[in-house]
Symmetry: C2
Subunit: 364 residues, 2 copies
């Protein structure tokens, strides 16, 4: 296994290459000095083609040749250059993913599952950050596209016309995720944020809470959940005609501290509040902690519902009732769809609603 990879190559044969046709006494261009496919070919005394075949489709080469070439590869310490391979074949084996913020815990499971599934098939993930606003969406996309990815996975619906145009022009398989739309650029894997908001409203109604409130981050999808939540509450008669939904809005990657301060603000403005829908589990955990500090009993005096069902949600005290999204499932499926497209296998269903699930635990 641990060959001395930096050993001088001492190729098995002399460089009996035909000299370049001496067009004119001109221009060199030394290579990178690294081991190439040709070096392997020389040692194995086969053509570059055969080496390429051993690497990319060993089934088409007799076992003996495969063995011969493999040992030559090990001997010279060859590492394929996928930049060159990608250029020649038109398949980079690179998949781009665009997330609002790497730091946010929400898409982490999707990214992780995506990366792992891709890796298992020989593809590599390339991560790009778009920020929460749509501003540089098109620009970041261009950067990603210039790498000629074999597919691009977005954790949002593409907004700007420019970005949509770039994507369409690139002819790269595109998967929009974590949302629904009637007009996807290409493929779609997600769920309805509006339905999720409505479901929480239904639950609050069913459990008999009379003074619901909303604590939300200011990103567009959280706001859509909140809007649907409010609408449904109104339908249930939990909101009087002229009355707005008690709401506190905090900046987007909503951390625990925003949950604590958010609850404080909420209770100051609306002391009667007896149930809060938080746009992320982190926010909800902050609310749980702040409630504890204030001696408010959860869920008796204050019910709390989160969103995401992050790893910690089951272990808070009390356990967090929350909307579970199968983030890992999204990532896995996205990887499979991209690969299926690239390898010209079935196109498969172009769109999937993976739904959500209201997980009932102690907090509501």
């Amino acid at each position: 296994m641990s060959q001395p990879f930096d050993a001088p190559l001492s190729l098995g044969i002399m460089s009996s290459e035909i000299q370049p046709p001496a067009t004119l006494g001109r221009r060199p261009r030394r290579g990178s000095g690294r081991v190439t496919l040709m070096d392997v070919a020389k040692v194995a005394r086969v053509s570059a083609q055969t080496v390429s075949r051993v690497i990319n489709s060993p089934d088409t080469v007799p076992a003996a040749t495969v063995e011969l070439v493999r040992s030559a590869i090990a001997q010279v310490g060859y590492v394929p250059n996928l930049l060159a391979g990608g250029l020649a074949s038109g398949r980079s084996r690179l998949v781009a993913a665009l997330v609002p913020a790497i730091g946010g815990p929400v898409f982490l499971q999707t990214i992780e599952a995506l990366s792992q599934t891709l890796g298992r098939h020989g593809y590599q993930l390339m991560l790009g950050e778009s920020g929460f606003d749509d501003a540089d969406e098109a620009e970041v996309l261009q950067n990603l596209l210039s790498r000629r990815p074999d597919g691009i996975v977005l954790t949002r619906i593409v907004q700007s016309a420019a970005a949509r145009a770039h994507l369409a022009a690139s002819r790269v398989p595109v998967i929009e995720t974590w949302d629904q739309t009637d007009d996807p650029v290409d493929m779609l894997i997600g769920f309805s944020h509006a339905d999720a908001g409505s479901a929480v409203a239904d639950y609050f109604c069913q459990r008999g809470f009379s003074h619901p409130a909303l604590l939300t981050g200011d990103d567009p999808r959280a706001i859509r959940r909140g809007a649907a939540f409010e609408t449904r509450l109104r339908e249930h008669g939990l909101l009087a005609a002229g009355q707005g939904l008690p709401t506190v809005q905090v900046p987007a990657p909503a951390p625990l501290g925003s949950g604590r301060r958010g609850l404080a603000d909420l209770l100051k403005a609306y002391p009667a509040t007896d149930a809060v829908f938080c746009s992320t589990d982190m926010l909800a955990l902050g609310v749980l902690i702040e409630a504890g500090e204030r001696g408010l009993a959860v869920p008796r005096q204050l019910a709390v519902v989160g969103f995401g069902d992050l790893a910690f949600a089951a272990d808070t005290a009390p356990g967090l009732t929350t909307v579970r999204i199968d983030g890992a499932g999204i990532g896995r499926l996205a990887a499979e769809w991209v690969i299926a497209r690239v390898e010209r296998r079935q196109i498969g269903p172009q769109s999937r609603d993976i739904g959500f699930e209201l997980v009932r635990r102690g907090s509501a």
Copy 2:
């Protein structure tokens, strides 16, 4: 901005190209059908080289030409192919990062800062996952290296000889981070885990706790912190001669729930425990929650110290005393060092101890 990128190209000049030298009546090879540098050159009536210069070093081209070429680029909807560019120039503008697990919150800030700093300089981050054990380290590295990154950032010290050999042979700038060693592969940005463990022991001693314990994940660095913690406690006389440190060890991406169950296990085995050093903040948060459930007053009856100073640490109740690591700083610096190397600017210091800081809050 939003040009019709898929418009037919209708190039400004006829294809008055010299026909290929007709070696023999042979072989075509249709291109990808996409817009290339040549298409832009034809429209702008300049050479490919000039277009390349406008893109890569506009300063060396007169403003008028830049303008001309830029409008041609917009007109035909050209997106550079960095696979080809990277192959030709030997600079991929790709930087690889290897993390144990994407999902873990610990390295997130490093990855985020790395990605952002790289992006600002036109580099793209490529993420690879190594897992917590050293098993496939060499293999994952090979995959990453086959993309010919301009640099590779590791959130650990490279262990296996095979991996070290691959890295050395590749001649790629390597930055090992989040640790210290006397024998780095190349560059190093980190801190001493042993010193961090000792510092917590000193703090417990200074605050007069008499029955310290350790709750740790099973990853190697957490274990090293724990070992130094124990050693220093012993030096302080807080551990009797034959007495081992009360310890509970949990599987590596230590989640909140492990903190709760870990404390329960600890108190069952060592009821006298009055101070716990947790190997991650998540674990510590779990301990805080479990202590709350048990009616244990923190820090009076139980002191808690975490590690990482994650975003939530300041807002727990009470605030979490923890060891702060400047993860974002590591990422930023790593990006700068890689870029400096690639652009042959100063090599800069090859190694940096960024230290750590014990942040005192309410929990201890």
